[in-house]
Amino acid sequence: MAGALATSIYQTLIRRNAVYLTSIFAGAFALEIAYDTSTNRIWDAFNRGRQWKDIKYQYLNQAEEEDDE
């Protein structure tokens, strides 16, 4: 089973150098985006209601209303 998986990985990704390098770079980008997204979400959960993006709606709306008047 594992052997079949390893063989398929080898055949699809590692056998050709161009594909191998491309997959490494694409994987790096994908992992970075995934990691940043998930950690940012955890961080915002830690600090719910404390950051500027949580409170700015009050003041943005206020400014727009003043402009309308």
Binding site: W43, F46, N47, R50, Q51, Y59, A63
Partner: protein, 316 residues
Amino acid sequence: MLARTVLRSVPFRGFARQSLNKTSSRASSSAAGSESTSSPFHLTVTASVATAIALGSATYLYGQEAFAMTPAEEGLHATQYPWEHAKWNKTFDHAALRRGFQVYREVCASCHSLTRVPWRSFVGVTHTVDEMKVFAEENEYDTEPNDQGDIEKRPGKLSDYIPAPYHNEEAARFANGGALPPDLSLIVKGRHGGCDYIFSLLTGYPDEPPAGATIQEGMNFNPYFPGTAIAMARVLFDGVVEYEDGTPATTSQMAKDVVEFLNWAAEPEMDDRKKMGFKALTLLTGLFALSVWVKRYKWAPIKTRKIVYSPPVPRR
């Protein structure tokens, strides 16, 4: 000196003994054995007393901790408060920063400068761009010299720094009875106790100085200030500021908000720093676990192998 006299006394006594007892050779104080050659009791006592005095005086001179200041000069130690923003995974409470900036503008800024903070640094932290532009334009700044070399005044821009209430130190001292109000940009980093100290100082003014405390004209009593006599009077009273978000403006609420604001002014990078630290620690924990696994994987055959010695078979 003492040791020399002790040494000198030895040959005399040895000589006296020699005359009595011809068979014994010249006695030395270090030789142990029969009673006639051992060191006399009073020599031991003298040496012990001398050593004790030397050690005692050295300890008295150099071994004690020196307290140059009286407790009053040291100031009362600030109470430690559980600051929410000081926790490792908490950012500043930006609503509190906004309130704190309001307190600074309406109360502190009449005497204290905040010269290292530009208007732009508030944008996206406590205020919107438009709000900050209005604040900046309320102040006038010098222009670059024009064609005739004259320096004119222009309204402030976001890139300008918050203007100081006094032009220079002398003007500040003159207006405050000789005392210089310190710049507040880095005050949280610049004082022992940081947030705790400033909060205690702001809220620690007693209604009247305690009995026995002498306060000079123009000075105020505050137990948390080193020396207890501070030129700044109590400024935070309930309701001095009216918060726009409806928070009750009690003394401690205003002090807490302005302390958190001053902490932000001293460490504006704290939010990002903690976030990056959180990400880095998480990632490095995973990498560390991986490296432990690799080490065990590589070492398992080495650790579990068995070396067997088979002696060479002797030839017949």
